[in-house]
């Protein structure tokens, strides 16, 4: 199913041993710092009717871009993780507290959180993303100003917290109280919108692993977010990426942090159930 296009993205280590036309996606592997192996290919979850396998976006990038993510020193996204570590200990707000004041166990407390977000929150009565929880901490416990959804401090903090779960498979819950939002997300995913009259599925389900002019289409998985993109040299949030896609098809994007994007984030995350959280990934 994955054709010869993926030959181009074989990792440096394996490219020499590949015979033309015989490759499969599992001929490559993403091992970070020579020790952490990521799951970049997995059988599709039962709720995914139209796909047999799911692939991390890493598979679809060039050899050079792939290599950047294989070493934390080379990964430019880690600069922002460093900044978030400083932010973690910074006291802000009227309560005179930093993240570290409450979370005495450090960021390690959050191991296992990234793979299950976004999730239904009984208290709020809605779907909550990591950004919501960070801002809740900031406004209620620290009594500081909320961050904007995609500002650099926010994406850096989500990267730092997400990094604790690197390598764990995405596993969002879609049934129970979350099912309503999941259905809404699915509807958004398959609805054609904008001047170009396209849905998410047109590119990322029907045509992944093909070229859309100069771009190699991925499955649009969000397991690697926040992503460092070479095109803008910073970390990008999931909602910001959704917004960018919608602009590309000349639609009016939903607002970052809106119910629609929460629903879409839940649905798209569920499409990637089984793939590893990649912390701060590197994409083009």
């Amino acid at each position: 199913m994955i054709g010869s296009n993926l030959l181009r993205v074989a990792s440096i280590a394996t490219i020499a041993t590949l015979a033309f036309g015989t490759t499969t996606a599992n001929a490559q592997s993403l091992v970070i710092n020579d020790e952490e192996t990521m799951i970049i290919q997995a059988p599709a979850a039962a709720h995914l009717e139209n796909l047999d396998e799911v692939f991390s976006g890493w598979n679809f990038r060039t050899v050079e871009t792939q290599a950047l993510q294989m070493d934390d020193f080379d990964n430019p996204g880690m600069i922002f993780v460093d900044q978030a570590m400083d932010q973690w200990n910074t006291v802000e707000g009227d309560a005179g507290e930093s993240c570290a004041s409450c979370h005495e166990g450090g960021t390690a407390e959050f191991a296992g959180l990234r793979p299950v977000l976004p999730r239904w929150d009984e208290e709020v009565g809605g779907i909550q993303s990591m950004e919501d929880y960070i801002n809740k901490c900031r406004t209620e416990r620290m009594q500081a100003d909320a961050w904007k959804w995609s500002e650099s401090k926010m994406t850096a903090m989500t990267a730092l917290i997400g990094l604790e779960s690197r390598g764990m498979p995405v596993n969002v819950v879609i049934d129970g109280p979350a099912s309503e939002a999941w259905e809404l997300g699915k509807e958004i995913y398959y609805t054609r919108v904008g001047q170009l009259d396209m849905s998410c599925a047109n590119c990322h389900e029907d045509n992944y692993d093909t070229m859309i002019r100069a771009d190699h289409l991925s499955q649009g998985q969000i397991n690697g977010f926040p992503s460092y993109r070479l095109k803008n040299a910073k970390l990008n949030s999931i909602h910001n990426r959704f917004s960018g896609c919608m602009k590309n098809i000349r639609a009016t994007p939903f607002k970052e942090g809106s119910d629609e994007f929460h629903a879409l984030e839940l649905y798209v995350a569920s499409r990637g159930n089984g793939l590893s959280v990649e912390g701060a990934s590197v994409r083009n």
Binding site: F73, D74, P76, I79, D82, Q83, A233
Partner: protein, 109 residues
Amino acid sequence: MASGVKPRVKVPKTASAGDIITIKTLISHKMESGQRKDSDGNKIPQSIINTFTCDFNGQNVINVELHGAISTNPYFQFEATVPESGDFTFTWNDDDGSVYTETKSIAVG
């Protein structure tokens, strides 16, 4: 001193005499181009890393001059031969006069 500047260096901790080792360096730095204006319309003065050097036990290994149009967070990777144990000293000079340094030791055995 510009904000958010943090040098990072990766040097192997040990090597054999005469080994060629790979050194990776990265400094997080805005590399303010001098072309931008602030919200009041005033020009933001240029502030970039203008030189980068690496010395090993006082002997120069690499000396790099940087000019405009080099993007943020400049990254250098180069190779060096290590004849003996010692210290690598890395120095970045900023247009605003700041000097950032970092030292890494390597044991040759």
